[in-house]
Amino acid sequence: MSTEILDPVAEAEESAPSRRRLSRIGVIGWVSIAIIALALLLAIFGPILRPFDPNLSDLSFANVGPFGSHLLGFDGQGRDVLSRIMEGARTTVLGAGFVALIAVAIGTTLAIATAWFGGKFDASVSAGLDVLFAFPGILLAVVAAAVFGPSLLSAGLALAIAYSPYVARVLRGAALKERAMTYIAALEVQGFGAWRLCVRHLLPNISSLIVAQGTILFGFAMVDLAAISFLGLGVQSPQADWGVMVSEGKTSLLQGYPIVSLTAVLCIVAVVAAVSFLGERLDASSKDVLR
């Protein structure tokens, strides 16, 4: 029987106000939050606020640089780049959000169910997930595009399915750890049912990890969705989307007019960097256990 001698230094450290956690994200953290807020605003209101019709093409303006109210100039087909960026935020950002949301929902459900019931149920679900593991997200999305035709929906669903085993595996580990905590056992002895224990005790205690996973996944989803659109298998040109814009702008870029591709790349990189920074911070603090 091991006798654990508790460490009051650590204990006193822990009892310091948890507000510290928020203030620790620093300047980069606040910049990240600002970028994400801006991206969300664009995703929701971009198509309303954009100054021009993103699909209005005037070939006489093809590859013309910024002037007047056309702050980012025109693309190879003479369309206003700023308007296309604002319009494209919707599919790029919200699409990624839905992918992350679905993957997290599936992953969390599987994780908690396998951790709770264990045994054969866990073994068979885990075996199924192992098979799914063999399909990298991009590959699944390409196959989905071949089967259902290229579209945001098929790419998004494929990615969500491909991501869910990853989420499930990470969260299952956390859920198993939480399941092994004696407070769960104590409440089982009190006669609490599985549903109450999972929903009211287990789930909230891994929620910070779930949020962190969701955030990290959102970054992945944005990159992968944009990549699939870049390949021509996701959002279809001429619809504005940041991934599509990178691809559309490539011809101009190779001719020495890089603004279209580079703007879209910059938008993607900024949001992804902000999201992954925050995601990592959340992840780290979710491992800074509460107890």
Binding site: A146, V147, F230, G256
Partner: protein, 315 residues
């Protein structure tokens, strides 16, 4: 060891069977007949139609067609690309070299730069570490296609140092053509490996057994080599392996961006053209490579960590 490999082998076969069935089934259910792709939408006489159907087994029930396809696949016959009138296996053989070279070159970059920078960052504190962290944060946010576009613009269009499109001829020219694609493909992965390495080394530095080694008066270099790096090698190997495995699918993006004649780019084209035999063939090859890589990771992991008994799954 043998039992472990046998078990992993069985799992591999099962995974491939399920995967092949899933891919085949999905494509079977796909709307639109392959004949339509073949005929380009023109109406053909019914007898020609019947002939085509018989040739491609299109009139058989699903399971029979799967069985025919599977058994011939086992003999190396992955069917025929209907639009190109060529054997899929031949097409794959022509293109696989480029993909393998690309993945290998990228892997070398990832291991050398990623692990190297990670160790330097973890051991050298202060500005060195901050520099490594900054570099990895920037490159982590650079997805392959974005990196491709940036590299093409800077090193191709502006500086003219490297070609931006095509595969090139011969070894040296081929390498020149692969440099930018490999860098683009490596960008995110290098950052990931750097970070994991840095964290793993840092974590190991804080372990109690390292404190024991220090308390025994061992010189710092010995402590680092014999304990810190040796033990950190376990998580690092795992993440390097997983990263390399993920390149197999990601190569498609870079190949498309740089106009490389590899498997991935071809898969994308085939998906656009609904060339199902090719999609099936290449997907299976990629899944196979991915799963094999994972088995290798598991074996490496078990060899590095004596606590993992071979046969229990490495997480």
């Amino acid at each position: 060891m043998l039992r472990f490999i046998a078990r992993r082998g069985a799992m591999l076969v099962a995974t491939l069977l399920v995967a092949s069935f899933a891919i085949y089934g999905a494509l079977y259910l796909a709307p639109g007949s392959p004949i339509a792709a073949l005929t380009g939408g023109r109406t053909v006489p019914p007898e020609v139609m019947a002939q085509l159907e018989a040739r491609y087994h299109l009139n058989e029930p699903f399971l029979t067609r799967y069985w025919i396809w599977l058994t011939s696949a086992l003999h190396g016959d992955l069917g025929e690309s209907i639009p190109l009138h060529e054997q899929v296996s031949t097409l794959i053989a022509q293109r696989i070299g480029v993909t393998i070279s690309l993945v290998l070159l990228t892997s070398v970059i990832i291991i050398v730069v990623g692990v190297g920078l990670g160790i330097v960052g973890a051991l050298g504190r202060g500005t060195v570490d901050t520099g490594v962290l900054f570099a990895s944060t920037v490159s982590a946010a650079l997805p392959a296609f974005a990196a491709a576009v940036l590299l093409q613009f800077v090193f191709g269009v502006m500086l003219g140092w490297f070609p931006v499109l095509g595969t090139g001829d011969g070894f040296v020219d081929g390498l020149r053509h692969l440099t930018l694609p490999a860098l683009a493909l490596a960008a995110t992965s290098v950052a990931l490996v750097t970070r994991v390495t840095r964290t793993a080394v840092r974590e190991e530095l804080g372990r109690e057994h390292v404190q024991t080694a220090i308390s025994r008066g061992l010189p710092w270099s010995g402590v680092v080599q014999r304990h810190v790096l040796r033990n950190a090698a376990i998580p690092i190997t795992t993440v390097v392996g997983i990263t390399i495995a993920s390149l197999i699918a990601l190569a498609a993006i870079v190949e498309t961006a740089f106009g490389l004649n590899g498997l991935g780019a071809y898969l994308v084209q085939a998906a656009q053209n609904k060339d199902f035999a090719v999609v099936q063939g290449i997907s299976l090859v990629l899944v196979f490579a991915f799963v094999i890589t994972n088995v290798v990771i598991d074996i490496a992991y078990a060899l590095l960590d004596p606590r993992v008994t071979l046969g229990s799954r490495a997480q």
